[in-house]
């Protein structure tokens, strides 16, 4: 049986709706809090039975947790691989929870609760990963929602906590607040002007770090960077968030400046490059995922520079997510080979662009 995504609140895609601040540059904001339940070995060390008891404990209290009462609980461990990949592509579960790594198959008791504003991954690296995902640059509202969930859930389930070290996590890089706040940001201007290296080096000096589109260990594709706090201990959540807000605002300004420079100093070269990207997506018959991502990055930039009209950021966001393999297979209702995937992807992108942007230029 394939996963019925319509069961999820908003199909799990509200974060794509481009409603947040700076949505043209910032795709999404995510904050997660790592928590463990006192009295059980951490997920990696726990036996199957223990993980199932952690899940049962959560099930027992969910109805007393207002943030989760309208949520849907999905047993990731009982899903076929295609559905697990689908949830991962939609950024609703991590690669680890979905068990997509050959070395780390899906664990018994792996589950996710998805609610309107927040979600909880169960039996990820830590027992509980509380998270909030938002469209655009929305750290404050994401934090408010996940903090509320943290207080509600922590009042029902005893979290592992240490007076000196704070919230205890399986990996010491998360100890303390257990908080990782990240902003998924599109920086083609800085990449094209070759300023990106300096900006990324600057992040590290500020105690921030960056990753690719899918978080830890993933590559940078389509000029998307995930900027997040590197450390979790020794500073309060608000301080960590303040720093991230200040730095991301600065990065957005640098990106906007880079775009102005590009237009001023290499106007026709850039225009030509972006229109070629649009042309390829509009007419190609076969597209690999990486190709699609790179050309979509160009088209997104062209929309930001107001060279291309009529295309909404929401559509661009959807294209990013729905042109991934598991999504294509899901919409076709069958498994696809790689070359079939490339054909279906090109058709999907072509149609989406034709209906909104038609033929222009």
């Amino acid at each position: 049986m394939t996963l019925d995504l319509s069961l999820l609140p908003d199909g799990g895609t509200r974060w794509l709706d481009a409603s947040g601040e700076h949505a043209n540059v910032v795709l999404s904001t995510r904050i997660r809090l790592a928590r463990n339940v006192e009295g059980f070995a951490f997920t990696g060390r726990a036996r199957d039975g223990e993980r199932l008891r952690v899940l049962a404990k959560l099930r027992d209290v969910v109805q007393h947790v207002p943030s989760l009462t309208n949520g849907v609980l999905l047993r990731v461990d009982e899903m076929p691989p295609g559905d697990r990949l689908l949830l991962h592509e939609r950024h609703l579960v991590s690669k680890e929870l979905a068990g997509l790594d050959a070395q780390h198959p899906v664990r018994s008791g792996a589950a996710v609760i998805l609610s309107d504003q927040v979600g909880v991954m169960v039996n990820e690296e830590d027992h509980l990963r509380l998270q909030a995902l938002r469209s655009g640059f929305e750290l404050a509202s994401a934090y408010a929602a996940v903090r509320q969930l943290d207080e509600e859930l922590g009042g029902r389930v005893p979290f592992a906590y240490h007076q000196e070290f704070g919230f205890l996590t399986a990996c010491p890089t998360n100890t303390g607040t257990g908080m990782r706040a990240s902003v998924l940001i599109h920086l083609p201007g800085l990449v094209l002007t070759k300023e990106i290296g300096k900006v990324l080096a600057g992040l590290q000096q500020m105690g921030l770090t960056y990753r690719g589109l899918y978080g830890e260990g993933s590559e940078v594709v389509g000029n998307f960077f995930q900027i997040s706090n590197q450390t979790t201990l020794g500073q309060a959540e608000e301080e960590l968030l303040d720093k991230l807000v200040r730095v991301v605002r600065h990065v957005i300004e640098r990106e906007e400046e880079a775009r102005r420079v590009l237009l001023r100093e290499a106007g026709y070269i850039i225009e030509d490059k972006l229109w070629r990207a649009f042309g390829t997506l509009r007419y190609a018959r076969s597209l690999t995922f990486d190709e699609a991502m790179n050309y979509l990055s160009g088209v997104r930039l062209a929309v930001g520079l107001k060279l291309i009209h009529g295309l909404s950021v929401y559509t661009l966001n959807k294209l990013l997510i729905f042109s991934q393999s598991a999504h294509l297979a899901h919409s076709e209702g069958r498994a696809l080979t790689e070359s079939e995937s490339n054909l279906v992807r090109a058709r999907y992108v072509r149609q989406a662009l034709a209906s909104e942007a038609g033929s222009q230029g």
Binding site: A41, F42, F165, G166, G234, E239
Partner: protein, 161 residues
């Protein structure tokens, strides 16, 4: 396994020596291996944190050996070095000195400054777990059509709620 040379640190380099057709096995720690001029690049720590931990351990005033075991989950520091993950919350107590130094290196600080937390009162937890159990029994009673029992269970759940 301890180093054959210093008998103090963990052996991480395993050598097979053949001297005049006699085969001997030699197990060395990184330091002794380096002193003997053995190339140790193949013996990189299994996890990026492992290297940090190793130096943190050497720094920690009351350096703990690998023999210390967490009483709750029976993990050792060696397990942590191999996986980069601690076994349970009690490991933080069992390996406190080493971890404090490690946390200081990773985060620049080892003292939590964020949200303080008080676990829920025990009577609340007990009530929740009793409720969970009663709900399980209710489900089973309904499935097996024991309606009298089900009604009784439902009443008890109502009282607790």
């Amino acid at each position: 396994m301890l180093c054959d040379n210093c008998k103090e640190r963990d052996a991480v380099v395993h050598l097979t020596q053949i001297v005049e057709s006699a085969v001997t096995q030699l197990h060395l720690c990184e330091k002794c291996a380096a002193e003997k001029g053995v190339e140790t690049t193949v013996a990189m720590p299994a996890h990026p944190l492992a290297g940090l931990l190793q130096s943190a351990q050497q720094q920690a005033t009351s350096a703990q050996g690998d023999a210390v075991r967490c009483a709750f989950c029976s993990s050792t520091l060696r397990d942590f070095r191999a996986s980069g993950r601690l076994g349970c919350a009690h490991c933080y107590g069992a390996f406190e000195a080493s971890l404090r130094e490690l946390l200081r290196r990773v985060h620049g600080n080892s003292r939590h400054a964020g949200r303080r937390y008080e676990p829920p009162r025990p009577d609340l937890l007990e009530r929740d777990s009793t409720l969970g159990e009663l709900r399980d029994r209710l489900r089973r009673a309904i499935e097996s059509e024991q309606f009298e029992l089900a009604a009784d269970l439902r009443d008890r759940i109502r009282v607790l709620e």
